[in-house]
Symmetry: C2
Subunit: 451 residues, 2 copies
């Protein structure tokens, strides 16, 4: 879906008008194209004394071909030359007074980032710190990172990545995702990486899902179709599932990506068994399950009929639980498998007219958090994306004023694209992402809205 405003704002007359009227000037975001280098310029690497991630990260990125710098050389006008990314290892900070190291690193280079630059702060999860003072300082990193995301502009993203001690070797898939254009619309997020049962770096980072089987529900259009395409691009054989009514569109997607189309109403009583039979007979097991199917039936609670409540809860939440349970009971998710849910900002912040939808999406977050330890016993991860304003046929129908507010009220001053959600799911799905489970990552351009 194109963003007409962004196109206009970048045209000759549009640019002049945007400037004259002080309208939002959405930057063109760097998005991933096959063959792109990991980072389109040098990456500045720093650390507070005693950090445990600096050296592993340095080795990882150097062997990935990234140009690394330990200090910012002066540019033409005396200012530091621009970087593609600023990465700071804050794991050595054990007390709030040590937070000064963040200022010392970021202050001189705050204006030395290329457009669509990247800021990555690495820390220790506060809950994994023994001393309260260390936990306090590590928790403080969140305020810095989220503020940088709101401040730097020009398509810069900023994230905080908490790495549990012992999980140092599990960070590569996350660094690659965050540095690349795949994470164009992900900003202001806190990501937790734990020790992984299995972190398997792919033979080819451009096709990490080679040989894998991926199921995507609601795949006929919009975000679901984008997920199917990106997982196929990454090498997976995709089973594209949607309701029988979506037949033609579904077949189109499946044909385009050399996948399989599967027509099934997931809320039917026999759906979990039929799906399980299909997977067992045709594929033996499945590696990646993306529960993307979802509906909205908006009404304020006082005017909502019971059908709207029941259908939204069943499609978005209960049917997912039933399918997960059958797939697990029958051992159909392969060891090292990946389960991904789709939550929503509404599930985090609540929304007027969406008591049913927000309840279902908050439930998806609960599902991810409660199933993560259960699935860990089988070497399977579970995570969710929480999309913000994404340009689809659905959002195109929102009344103009509300739509424009939703589009602009984020650090990117624009809506995201379905591919942005899909790339985030592909990162969760990577065999190298074994250390990532129980995470809910927003794909919202750091929307102002939240809880």
């Amino acid at each position: 879906m194109s963003d007409r405003y962004a196109s206009f704002a970048h045209s000759g007359p549009g640019k002049a008008l945007v400037k004259r009227l002080g309208l939002p000037d959405p930057p063109r975001l760097r998005r991933h194209r096959p063959g792109d280098p990991l980072a389109p310029g040098p990456v500045l690497l720093g650390a507070a004394p005693g950090g445990r991630l600096l050296e592993p990260v340095r080795k990882m990125l150097a062997s990935a071909g990234v140009e690394l710098r330990d200090a910012a050389p002066a540019g033409e006008n005396g200012r530091p030359a621009p970087h593609a990314a600023l990465i700071f290892d804050a794991t050595g900070i054990t007390d709030s007074t040590g937070l000064r190291a963040l200022y010392d690193f970021f202050h001189p280079v705050a204006r030395a980032l290329q457009p669509s630059g990247r800021v990555i702060v690495l820390g220790t999860p506060p809950e994994a710190c023994d001393a309260p003072r260390e936990a306090t300082a590590q928790r403080a990193l969140e305020g810095l990172t989220r503020s940088i995301g709101k401040e730097f502009g020009r398509g810069t993203t900023a994230q905080l990545v908490y790495v549990t001690p012992g999980a140092e070797s599990a960070v590569e898939s996350t660094l690659r995702f965050l540095l690349s254009g795949r994470s164009a619309y992900v900003s202001g997020q806190v990501i937790r990486i734990g020790p992984a049962a299995a972190v398997n770096p792919p033979a080819d980072w451009d096709r990490p899902l080679d040989g894998k089987v991926a199921l995507v529900t609601g795949a006929a259009r919009g975000i679901g179709a984008a997920i199917a395409r990106v997982l196929a691009r990454d090498g997976a054989h995709v089973i594209a599932l949607d309701v029988p009514g979506a037949g033609d569109a579904l077949a189109g997607v499946a044909n385009e990506i050399g996948g399989t189309a599967l027509q099934l109403d997931l809320t039917a009583p026999d759906a979990p068994a039929r799906l399980a039979d299909h997977l067992a007979e045709r594929h033996g097991q499945v590696d990646v399950v993306v529960h993307n199917a979802g509906i909205t039936r908006d009404k304020t609670l006082g005017r909502m009929d019971a059908g709207r409540w029941d259908s939204v809860l069943d499609v978005n939440l209960s049917s997912t639980e039933r399918i997960n349970d059958v797939l697990l009971e029958r051992g159909l998710i392969r060891e090292g498998g990946r389960v991904v849910g789709v939550a929503s900002i509404a599930g985090i912040a609540g929304n007027r007219g969406q008591t049913n939808y927000a309840t279902s999406k908050a439930g998806v977050i609960g599902l991810v958090q409660s199933m993560a330890p259960v699935l860990a016993e089988r070497g399977v991860t579970i995570n969710a994306v929480a999309p913000g304003f994404i340009e689809t046929k659905m959002t195109a129908k929102i009344p103009m004023f509300i739509r424009e507010a939703g589009r602009r009220m984020n650090s990117m001053a624009q809506g995201g694209l379905p591919v942005d959600v899909a790339e985030t799911i592909a990162w969760f799905a990577s065999p190298a992402s074994g250390g990532i489970s129980g995470n809910v990552v927003r794909v919202c351009g750091q929307s102002l809205l939240g809880a």
Copy 2:
């Protein structure tokens, strides 16, 4: 601080203009006045089958003199008659399909609330549920509650209160706070109540702090002065602390409430020891410590000098840690004591131009979460408020357009008052709030802004 817009919007000509132009029409919020009944009307009580909180809550509220109903009687026009509050015990919900009980309870009475009505949903903390399905359903409650907060309007607040099994007897102070006008500007919050070492219902609920000694830092003006006044109203002897430069204002507050003024620069190297000496000599021990002192020094990170970083971090975070440590080392916080911090929405969501402030306030959240288990060993709780847009001299200086946006972008369509923050702190400080620790509660009228 008065809200001129709200006063205007409620005047004769203002009302007409507000309606004609579709301007926000902020409701007059019900705030607590001494002698007010707990709830200004009947309270509707419901539960999903198997709930463990319905009966304890019924007994508690009945003996507090609240008029309780189990069903909504029809009102004049066939609609249900209005209630002061809707309370639903959702602890019996063990599966997402059981969430339908929420719809069944709230749908018929969604428009049957008095102005400044109250919605309270009681649940089990997802992390305390054994089965993932139960944890998922309990987590889903958050989406419902936050949506109701955004939807019901007219000053209605909505909260989710998670009560750990075994902590049923610890909920009274929270129910009283939430039902009363003390929580006028608290909405969309998730509160966790755990088993308490000591829950001591006060002899007089109007003076729960009788005989207690409370320290309030930054007490000379604004929110700090309001905290001092409310704690004194609740019976405490208040030690009002501020920097020597605030002498006259500080003395004024202390005299007004019959407390003690203490002039001290908390960032001075000897401040913790001097404060500890003062407390030990004059009072023996202290019961309530409110770390309210805080400063802002806004600049974007690239333009921020090191002094702005250091001073904000030191005043807002590091000095608090030093003082806590000395008070604990010297055993000056009495068993059953209460420590309260002041965080901020900026510490949750980040803010442009406030990397220093947001880092310090995110640190306050870390301090609360990391110290809670340490202090629990001494029977002491620690919590924080996170104010949103509060009408003070500081916010009055914000440029008009940004100020109005901050004021209106919440479920109450208005800024809060210092007393709203103070009442929330008084709830934490109550001897009956022993089950509340490690909580960060926003006082923001359910601001749209968040993480």
